[in-house]
């Protein structure tokens, strides 16, 4: 599938900001199953400094600074992305999950890089509750594809989608306790479950293209940032699981960036110098099927 992707973040402040520095993870990665065309990151007012780079995980990252006093900041990424559904070999999916623990099978190909996401990370701490929750799915000898898919099903069934249940700073323990959260929480929880048993799994930030409700028109900008998880299948093979929607990520999923957890890849973060006390923030995400363009 091919999509026109647009992600706009707008901040306004009640007093001028004299200096604003930002780091954005917006430009989607180029992957064997994903191509990216004409992508641009734009900042308004025009920044006096803007630089694109690849971060530690190979994600595109944009650094910018604007020292022109302003009360409104707009950061927008837009471009075209074409996605295929990743395919996994059956023999990979039936590997017993215990054989995919990089801290144990240290000599396995690329186990050394996968180690980074097998360890606890700042937002995904190791809590016994997550380990215990996952044990029912990760039974000894079970094929990895089946085991982790079962875990995804259970999270989807046991946890309620509720954007009032958690905040951006909620911990794994809090999500376990509340039995509710948003996509970011479910992704973090699934990471904690998998890592608690020694599997390597990374946080993926991106978009999910959604269909309008039957009989309604597409509403531009009504989509949202999304988050899911990729679990290591050995070598350079990762299986993408979306616990929020209870499915493997396919050609409706645009991968922007991945890291240990949300903290490595927020779409936009920044530091501002201002006397302002309040701000408004609007995020508009639009993932439109290419065919509907023009």
């Amino acid at each position: 599938m091919k999509y026109a992707v647009r992600h706009t973040t707008t901040y306004t402040y009640d007093k001028p900001v004299s200096d604003s520095l930002g780091v954005a993870h917006l430009r989607p990665r180029v992957l064997p199953w994903q191509t990216v065309e004409d992508y641009e990151v734009q900042v308004a007012p025009a920044p006096n400094d803007l630089r694109e780079d690849l971060d530690h995980y190979g994600n595109h990252v944009t650094y910018f600074q604007l020292t022109e006093p302003h009360q409104r900041l707009v950061v927008e990424g837009r471009g075209t992305v074409e996605v295929l559904t990743p395919v996994h070999a059956e023999e990979t999916l039936v590997t017993p999950w215990e054989r995919l623990r990089p801290l144990v099978q240290t000599a396995a190909p690329l186990a050394w890089t996968a180690t980074d996401v097998a360890l606890p990370s700042p937002l995904v701490d190791q809590v016994p509750g997550a380990h215990d929750y996952a044990t029912a799915s990760l039974r000894p000898g079970r094929p990895v594809g089946e085991a982790v898919t079962d875990l995804m099903h259970r999270i989807h069934a046991d946890f309620e989608y509720d954007d009032t249940a958690t905040t951006v700073t909620s911990t794994i323990a809090h999500v376990l306790e509340a039995r509710a959260g948003v996509c970011q929480d479910f992704a973090h929880l699934l990471l904690a479950c998998l890592r608690g048993h020694g599997l390597a799994a990374r946080y993926v930030s991106g978009y999910l293209s959604t269909d309008p409700p039957p009989g309604r028109e597409r509403v531009v900008g009504a989509d949202a940032s999304h988050a899911w998880v990729e679990v290591w299948l050995g070598g350079d093979d990762w299986l993408a699981l979306d616990p929020t929607n209870d499915q493997w990520a396919g050609d409706r999923y645009v991968t922007v960036a991945w890291g240990r957890d949300y903290g490595d890849v927020p779409p936009l973060k920044g530091v501002i110098f201002t006397e302002a006390r309040k701000s408004t923030m609007q995020v508009a995400v639009d993932v439109a099927p290419w065919a509907l363009q023009g």
Partner: protein
């Protein structure tokens, strides 16, 4: 007997000696003195208890006079302590260690470059990846393909201890932001003054050339070929544990000591806020931990860093020393892998062994550790060594098993021991053996790593020491030359340091500290004078409650209460002691002195070290007061404290006439005017009968240090009008309101942000006009029991002076808004905006 011979003899007696398994630094197994001590001829060996007692006293005094402190978490900084007996090593034994240290720094640099570059060590499994990736010091923001720094390690420190055979072993590597070089230099400075003969005749390596080399290495660290790079020392602030060390280094090297708020990043360049403009910074000697160095890309809650610093580093536009992320080497889990890493990266065997260490992420090592919990110290790979010291073996085992990769087990070395001065209380046992560790420093100079020939020795308190935060004692390390002709530090070619004064004089934060230097020193002085006056009255009259003198005393005590609050006590001596000693009592002398010390600590590199003598004097006076219950000690100590505080004027007189100097005076005159108005407001606005009034006025003149002038001018005839003239309108009395307002105008005019019509200048002009229009005769006028005009006048002056202080802060000390996180602002749905202009309407 001499101290060293007593010590040697004592070692053979089990009750007096230390641990028999310990290597002794002075006495060999056979009871004879070790080589370096023999080499010191008879001089060191002949030191008597008397010599050492004197040296110890001199050291305490010298360190206090230099204001050398060491911070303790959650407590006031304590004095730095130095033992009078140096640790002495001869050229031969040092030489071996030196080679090992140089190799180690080279190896660590190669490891660092690899971990942030190619990561061959991890890919090939020479270091288990979890050792690095599981360590909090691994800074992924600088581990990017676009950025590579070949020599990220410029200055490292190594902590060493000896094993039972006397071999040095590495206990820990300090690469994040190594501290202690300043303390080491200060130790040397003090010891060379206190034991001058021994110092001269021992033929040891002087440290100075190492500092010159450090200065030059930092300048050369600048990117490109810059003729005169700007180097700064980035400090977390004067409340940091090692604030003294940081200021010492900055001042010894002649580089400005700055804090994060003094720097900004603009277009990827780091710049220093200098009055009204920005100046580029090329090299940062970093004493802030990596994690706290940039709120944009590292810890967002840090107030110590510079937003955008990481990006500036990645673009090669500033060089940070040591590089961001260097703290990943402060990882005990690396130790067991270093021998293999050395073979792989340097092609050499590792020369200096580390303390035996096992990483629990490795199954066999984990078993080894869990089987021997009694003898091993278990610690987290990125936590302090003693973090788990209080836990029982079961709890430790549980923690290790829950996250094995995060823990190591380490052998505890017996360490070596050396004689330490214990005071002349027990004849024949003045020195006792105590265990020690050694911190060494290694610098990348030119293309090679050079260890400092010297170091900082820390004495380890016995495990059962009462207070874990008791200031540690240190020792100086003397490394003897093989041949007196050998150049110091083996560095003949280094240029000596030119003492360039650093130029942070106009950074807003520095001006602010200077302002408070002026204000707090004046508060100190005024409170001391008030206490002295009250104590004198109390001495004369406390036994005669109905006397006019005692009534005068009661009035003066209301002035004290106005400035320092009222204490619920009838015991006047207790009150005086509280006013002098109680740090927690706002308005007390001790409280203001603390404020003064804080302000000075922030600008330590700007000021002559003489400034700290004032604190040496006041501390000794405070100690005398604490240990002597007699009432007369109050006056004695307060008098000595006053001498100390007044000595600051001498330092000021010798200060360069820059903006900072004007700022000190601005604070000083503003505070003097305020204090005077408070004093008069509390004492002179009511009538209490002629005799009592006379007592009060005399006391006020004394407290305002104008009694002598008054005596000369009015021949001892004390009346309200004369006193008001002298204290309010006299243009020649440096204590008068008129004089201080005029001085305020002068110093204000000298500041760069002053325009002639700025708000502070306007406020002073109004104050001066109001004072000029005021007739003393009107102020004296009586209305019933009080002087309503005087009361109103002083209230008005106080209000305006307070406003002036705020205006000065706003105009001259403003640093602009502090940085905050983009997502930190409370988010609202919408603002109340003006429909016509579209602008936000403010409440």
């Amino acid at each position: 007997m001499t101290v060293i011979r007593d010590y040697a003899a004592g070692l053979n007696q089990p009750t007096l000696g230390g641990d028999p398994h310990r290597y002794d630094e002075v006495v060999g197994r056979d009871g004879s003195l070790r080589a370096p001590w023999k080499g010191l001829a008879e001089r060191a060996v002949r030191l008597t208890p008397g010599d050492l007692a004197r040296a110890d006293d001199d050291i305490v005094r010298a360190l206090a006079d230099d204001g050398v402190t060491y911070g303790r978490p959650g407590r006031r900084p304590g004095p730095w302590r130095l033992d009078p007996v140096p640790l002495i090593l001869d050229a031969a034994s040092w030489g071996q260690l030196e080679i090992g240290l140089a190799q180690r720094a080279e190896l660590l640099n190669a490891v660092l470059a690899d971990l942030y570059g190619e990561r061959r060590l991890l890919a090939e499994g020479l270091v288990p990846p979890a050792v690095v990736m599981g360590h909090a010091g691994y800074a992924r923001v600088v581990a990017r393909p676009s950025f590579h720094e070949p020599h990220p390690l410029v200055l490292s420190a190594t902590d060493l201890g000896r094993d039972a055979h006397g071999e040095w072993r590495v206990l820990a590597d300090r690469t994040q932001a190594p501290s202690g070089l300043g303390y080491a230099m200060e130790n040397r400075r003090v010891l060379s003054r206190v034991l001058p003969q021994l110092y001269r005749e021992s033929g040891l390596h002087r440290m100075a050339p190492f500092f010159s080399a450090l200065r030059s290495a930092l300048q050369q660290a600048a990117a490109g070929d810059m003729p005169d790079p700007r180097v700064v020392v980035l400090s977390p602030g004067s409340h940091s544990e090692t604030a003294y060390d940081q200021a010492f280094i900055a001042s010894a090297l002649g580089f400005p000591l700055v804090e994060g708020s003094d720097l900004v990043v603009c277009d990827g360049w780091v710049q220093m806020r200098v009055f009204g403009r920005l100046e580029r910074v090329d090299v940062i000697l970093r004493r802030v931990d990596s994690d706290w160095s940039d709120p944009l890309e590292l810890r967002g809650d840090s107030r110590l860093g510079v937003a955008g610093l990481t990006e500036a580093v990645r673009r090669g536009r500033v060089r940070v020393v040591n590089g961001l992320g260097a703290g990943v080497l402060e990882n005990p889990a690396l130790l067991p892998y270093l021998p293999a890493v050395s073979e792989a990266l340097l092609g050499e065997p590792l020369l200096l062994d580390s303390v035996p260490t096992w990483w629990c992420g490795d199954p066999e090592s984990r078993e080894r550790v869990l089987d021997d919990l009694e003898h091993l110290q278990v610690r987290r790979i990125d936590g302090p060594p003693t973090e788990l010291a209080e836990l029982g073996p079961d709890e430790i085992r549980a923690r290790v098993l829950a996250a094995p990769h995060a823990y190591v087990g380490q052998e505890l070395l017996p360490l070596s021991q050396a004689p330490v001065w214990r005071g002349a209380t027990v004849p024949g046992r003045e020195v006792r053996p105590q265990a020690l560790t050694l911190r060494t420093f290694t610098l990348r100079y030119g293309s090679a790593y050079r260890p400092l020939v010297g170091g900082l020795v820390t004495l380890i308190e016995p495990a059962n020491a009462v207070d874990r935060w008791s200031p540690q004692r240190s020792k100086d390390l003397w490394v003897l030359k093989e041949d007196p002709a050998q150049p110091d530090q083996g560095l003949p070619e280094v240029q000596p340091l030119t003492h360039a004064r650093s130029s942070t004089g106009t950074v807003p934060r520095v001006l602010e500290d200077m302002f408070w230097f002026g204000r707090e020193s004046e508060r100190c002085e005024d409170m001391l004078r008030l206490v002295l006056v009250c104590h004198a009255l109390a001495d004369d009259y406390r036994t005669r409650p109905t006397s006019t003198g005692n009534q005068g005393l009661q009035v003066m005590l209301t002035a004290v209460a106005r400035l320092a609050g009222r204490q619920d006590t009838d015991d006047l001596d207790a009150e005086f002691r509280s006013l002098l000693l109680d740090y927690d009592r706002v308005g007390s002398f001790a409280h203001s002195l603390d404020g003064l010390r804080d302000a000075l600590a922030g600008v330590r590199d700007q000021l002559s070290p003489d400034i700290w003598r004032a604190f040496g004097v006041t501390e000794r006076a405070a100690y005398a007061l604490e240990t002597n219950n007699h009432s007369h000690q109050v006056a004695d100590s307060a008098g000595r404290m006053l001498t100390g505080v007044l000595s600051l004027q001498g330092v000021l007189a010798n200060m360069i006439r820059d903006h900072g100097w004007h700022m000190v005076h601005l604070g000083h005159h503003l505070e003097r005017a305020l204090q005077l108005c408070h004093l008069m407001r509390a004492t002179t606005t009511r009538r209490r009968g002629i005799d009592v009034d006379r007592e009060v006025l005399t006391a006020v003149l004394n407290a305002a240090e104008s009694a002598v002038t008054h005596q000369r001018r009015y021949r001892g005839y004390v009346r309200t009008g004369g006193v008001l003239e002298l204290l309010l309108t006299d243009p020649d009395n440096p204590r008068s309101l008129q004089f201080n307002l005029a001085e305020l105008a002068t110093h204000l005019a000298a500041l760069p942000a002053s325009t002639g019509s700025s708000r502070p200048e306007r406020l002073v002009t109004v104050l001066l006009e109001q004072l000029a229009e005021t007739e003393v005769a009107t102020l004296v006028a009586i209305g019933g029991e009080s002087r309503p005009n005087l009361e109103a006048f002083l209230d008005q002056m106080l209000a305006q002076l307070t406003r002036l202080g705020e205006a000065v802060s706003e105009l001259h000390l403003a640093t602009g808004p502090a940085p905050q996180s983009l997502v930190g602002l409370p988010v609202v749905d919408s603002f109340d905006t003006d429909a016509a202009t579209g602008e936000v309407r403010l409440p």
